[in-house]
Amino acid sequence: MSIRITGVQLPDGTRKDLFVDDGVFVDSVSTGSTSVSADGLIALPGLVDLHTHLREPGYEQSETVLTGSRAAAIGGFTAVFAMANTMPVQDTTGVVEQVQSLGERHGYVTVRPIGAVTAGLAGERLSEIGAMAQSRAQVRVFSDDGHCVSDALLMRRALEYVKTFGGVVAQHAQEPRLTLGAQMNEGALSSELGLAGWPAVAEESIIARDVLLAEHVDARLHVCHVSTAGSVEVIRWAKARGVKVTAEVTPHHLLLTEELARGYDSRFKVNPPLRRDEDVLALRAALADGTIDIVATDHAPHPVESKDCAWDEAANGMLGLESALSVVHAAVVASGQLDWSDLARVLSAKPAEIGLLAGYDAPFAIGSPANFTLYDPSATRTFATSDLRGKGLNSPYLGRELPGRVIATVHNGYATVLDGELVDAAAVAKEAHHG
């Protein structure tokens, strides 16, 4: 497939034509190729999500690799890292290879499985990290996400052992004893609503411990979904000391606050919980100054019945892939805190670097893999279920006006989204296997 994109604006503000042939950017293409007039559109490097829940195998009623890949593509993503909390857990070679090959078969995005740190996510003994690293799936990111590796000794060993294979531990920082039965951010509002509090210190104390452990054993640590102003301070301090720590923030923690819990609408129930205004402002500032390295969605689809109930009974988690770009646009680009090249860094180059994913270090350069998305920043839309492409409906943005719209996405040189709509699954799979 060859593609010609005319008159597009690159993240650095320059305008040019882009040509794609045989999976990579080239100088020119012959006529007869797919042609997109990109007047008014911005070309962004293919977005990379370091934190996605694809749910397959085991929870196919929530999402599958195919449906999650489609949700990713319509959101402008060309690669996603699939969290390990499947059933069976992604803690053996067989499961990570299965997830990897499902991604390859469908072809909408590059699917990179994340391996569990501990067997069965049970937090008791290490999983077969070496085997997963050396498997066909070449796992480099390990996480018990959904659970915190709370045992200090086990976390130390995990950091050291993963270092042996050149990988990184992505920690879900949540002190379990401080969050027994926790339902929402602990503070004045949780006190009023009578919902068990989820104190900021439960996150901050684990991050503080982990950065010290990472420093001590000279290993890389990645902190998942940072949600509090205090966590930002701890990470800033650790980076100043030279600790090899990176951190992510979700789109929803950049835009939404705990006030949304007031109506007990469980679409707003998420782990970590939505926090206060001052946390949101601190997270935006930290993303702008580089203390927080990347945005990752924590896309967490759930079936309707898991949310159609009382708050305490509802599952944690919200959709993120389809809305991420628009939400980050609304939260930090519209305000001028990040420009488009910053956005390209936090949603593409840097997450690829953390996850050791090749092909994202020189976007748009001749010879680089053609992974990019065309975004119309001037569009606005009232976000609705019709904007969703995965199985889940649990988006916190339904009914909210969001800026921007993905017009096209190109993965490894072939289109996955054209004219704002997904390319047919069979056509995408066919292109994927030609390449």
Partner: protein, 314 residues
Amino acid sequence: MRHLLSTKDLSRDEAVAILDIAEDMAGVADREVKKLPALRGKTVVNLFFEDSTRTRVSFEVAAKRLSADVINFSAKGSSVSKGESLKDTAQTLAAMGADAVVIRHSASGAPRVLADSGWIDAGIVNAGDGTHEHPTQALLDAFTIRRRLHGPDARGKALDGVTVTIVGDILHSRVARSNVWLLTTLGATVSLVAPATLLPVSTAGWPVGVSYDLDAAIDAGPDVVMMLRIQAERMNAAFFPNAREYSRQWGLDDERAARLPAASIVMHPGPMNRGLEISANAADSPQSTVLEQVANGVSIRMAVLYHLMSGSDA
């Protein structure tokens, strides 16, 4: 008023109006035939996801005295299942034509979810949701205080200038939350006394004073002391060391009860742990309103059901 979900939603005038209707309802209990035809042909469902015989019976008596048909629907889950879902139950009741649903649920906000869901069109009465609110308990407490203070002249009055001290497990108490909003709306001054472990981490925005010292609170001579029930399981979760220490520091024992002004009243929402948060003497003294609270509960629940069901859609 379509639902009663939280006392925070009640205006002063609405609250006084409900208390006044309850005065009328109290008169019914003194008649030979304890029944009014007000809600004849209407169906009230007591939907209890959590056991509470006292509250359920109180609502049942209230609805029956108003001639409503009453259905008790116990939807409590067994130890192996999560029980019937809120949604399925609500849709079932809607299909059966319930006019009002009195709901008790272990999850905070469940009545609000039901009211906002569109699953059912009935009026919703919160009969206690998790650690959130218990509005009819607060209304009956306000009613009890008002009757004690003003006797037969209570009608139309609020609780201006009344000082109320609420003691105990504020953190987990839906009774405390509902009373904080309602009593202050009615003009009372409310203070909370508990160990720091049993107070919410933040009471910013609550119109109350907070302290740890029960003796100082007693010596301030409050008009009302309201003791909250202590659940045994709190001891196992390190909220306080043991019952003996709790009782010594935050229990209304004989000595503390004796130091209260003679006109002060002692309240407890029941069921009591005699000897733990309240001594037997204090519970049974003339200052105690424990049994009046139970009797007034029926009047208040009649008033609430009447107000909801014969009001706007009549």
